[in-house]
């Protein structure tokens, strides 16, 4: 964890530092009398960068104080940790894929597949749940959001658009 925190702090510094760099071209812009477009974000970013540096220093100091030896985890705990990490990564990827393919496949198909796959990732193995739920859930969501309150969901392109138009 200590290593993770150091990397995280370094990333914060990089992010805020980059944005701070971007701010310089804003600094001159403004209406006469006021502080301009750049000053407020400059203040926020400069402070953030400073605080990230402090965070980095304090986590380095703590990690050197603690020293090595934090690695005495059992094999079981390590396996559990790895499982958790894989599940989380897969659910992140799964959601990302869902929102990326939605404009192409249309809302209905993307949602059906997403519910199915995400349930699998979370460890769902009951067949009836996997078979019924995606259809049921998609139907309910379509009924409420697309039909009743007419949110114009993405319909997809080509064949998928034709398919979506059958429903909404």
């Amino acid at each position: 964890m200590k290593k993770g925190e150091i990397i995280f702090s370094a990333m914060c510094i990089a992010f805020f530092g980059f944005m701070l760099f971007e701010t310089f071209e804003l600094l001159g812009q403004g209406r006469p009398g006021e502080v301009g477009s750049g000053l407020w974000p400059f203040m926020a970013l400069a402070t953030s960068t400073l605080l990230s540096v402090l965070m980095l220093i304090s986590s380095i100091r703590r990690s050197s104080a603690a020293g090595p030896g934090a690695q005495d985890l059992t094999a079981e705990a390590i396996a559990e940790k790895r499982r958790a990490r894989i599940t989380v990564s897969l659910s992140v990827v799964c959601f990302l894929v869902y929102i990326i393919v939605m404009p192409w496949f249309g809302f209905i198909i993307a949602t059906l597949l997403y519910i199915f796959v995400f349930a699998l990732i979370l460890g769902e193995r009951r067949r009836w749940v996997l078979a019924i739920s995606p259809v049921l859930m998609t139907t309910v969501i379509m009924g409420v959001f697309a039909k009743f309150i007419t949110i114009p969901f993405p319909k997809g392109i080509g064949v998928f658009a034709e398919f979506s138009r059958l429903f909404y």
């Binding site: 198909i109 059906l112 199915f116 078979a131 114009p152 064949v159 998928f160 034709e162 398919f163 059958l166």
Partner: protein, 324 residues
């Protein structure tokens, strides 16, 4: 995994059938609902106007019409969306003056005159110079004289920096020879509260919104920006009367993506023109005082009007320093 496969097959089968069915029907345009895209949030001026016209369209289109809102980025997000749709006449953009102003700016991602064909202009709104009811200024002349003595001393509020609101405020007072300070706010509601609370001098805004407060004497209008006096405020002079040659107003129009087949454009123009005579729409524009200046212009006139306005705006924006 077998289930996934089966599911995929079912999906493809159904969509295939749907396509076949659609091809069989390959009927006349419009074979599905026409989408009217309002690039502003629900409940705003553009939205209510579009919905009022859509009410009149409904009986004419058997596959219906949907009004969708896509606010954001000062009306550019919605315009960009329509410009990315196929030019098949199923997506209609509700255009306002802010798109014309956007056409002048260097950073435009989609340009109204380049990417769209106008159908018609539907409304031409009237603005007015409005100040607090208990202000020291009794007439526009008082205001202008004070403003000439105190350059930048008059603080006028508006909603869009570099947009319609700022342009009409600055351009109007420039014609009158006064330099004012423009203070941008987030919404018309905040501006009204700020005028009533005496935090700012006033605003140049569309008249209909402030009319109830004017009638109650909480606000007063010094001048309506049009060629003749406004029937709702017969005692307030118009800009032409006081010798200020400025009569621009906020316009609302409808457009389709460039390249839409002419017969579809013609069809849309016909149904829209018809729905503008719908009793409900007529009542709506009467209530909102949008009938004071005739709003309707055909496609050719609309294009010409747009080009003139863009010319005017590019001049003003250059003076303001938004365009180099």
């Amino acid at each position: 995994m077998r289930k996934v496969k089966t599911l995929t097959w079912v999906v493809f089968l159904v969509s295939g059938l749907a396509m076949a069915a659609a091809n069989l029907m390959a009927a006349e345009y419009p074979e599905r609902a026409i989408e009217i895209l309002v690039p502003f949030g629900a409940g705003g001026g553009s939205d209510t106007a579009a919905r009022a016209v859509a009410e009149g369209l409904k009986p004419q289109l058997k596959n219906g019409v949907v009004v969708n809102n896509m606010p954001g980025g000062g009306a550019t997000k919605g315009m960009l969306y329509v410009s990315q749709q196929p030019a098949d006449g199923y997506s209609v953009l509700a255009v306002t003056t802010s798109h014309l102003i956007d056409a002048v700016k260097p950073k435009t991602r989609s340009q109204l005159l380049r990417d769209f064909d106008p159908l018609c202009r539907i409304q031409w709104d009237t603005s007015a110079v409005t100040i607090s009811g208990d202000s020291q200024f009794k007439t526009l002349t008082d205001l202008i004289e004070w403003g000439k003595k105190n350059p930048k001393g008059l603080k006028f509020a508006g909603t869009s920096p570099g947009g319609w609101s700022e342009i009409q405020t600055v351009a109007f007072f420039k014609k009158a020879g006064v330099e004012v300070t423009f203070v941008p706010f987030d919404s018309g509601a905040e501006i009204k509260a700020a005028i009533l609370g005496g935090h700012i001098t006033g605003a140049v805004e569309e008249l209909a919104e402030t009319l109830p407060l004017i009638e109650a004497g909480k606000l007063k209008s010094l001048c309506v920006i049009m060629e003749t006096r406004h029937p709702a405020l017969p005692n307030v002079p118009c800009s032409k009367e006081v010798g200020i040659d400025y009569t621009h107003g906020l316009m609302r129009a409808w457009a389709v993506k460039k390249g839409t087949p002419p017969e579809r454009q013609k069809f849309l123009l016909d149904v829209i023109t018809k729905s503008l005579q719908h009793p409900m729409y007529v009542k709506f524009i009467q209530d909102e005082h949008l009938d004071v200046r005739p709003g309707y212009l055909g496609p050719e006139e609309t294009r010409k009007y747009w080009e003139e306005e863009v010319n005017f705006f590019s001049g003003v924006l250059k003076e303001l320093g938004y365009v180099k």
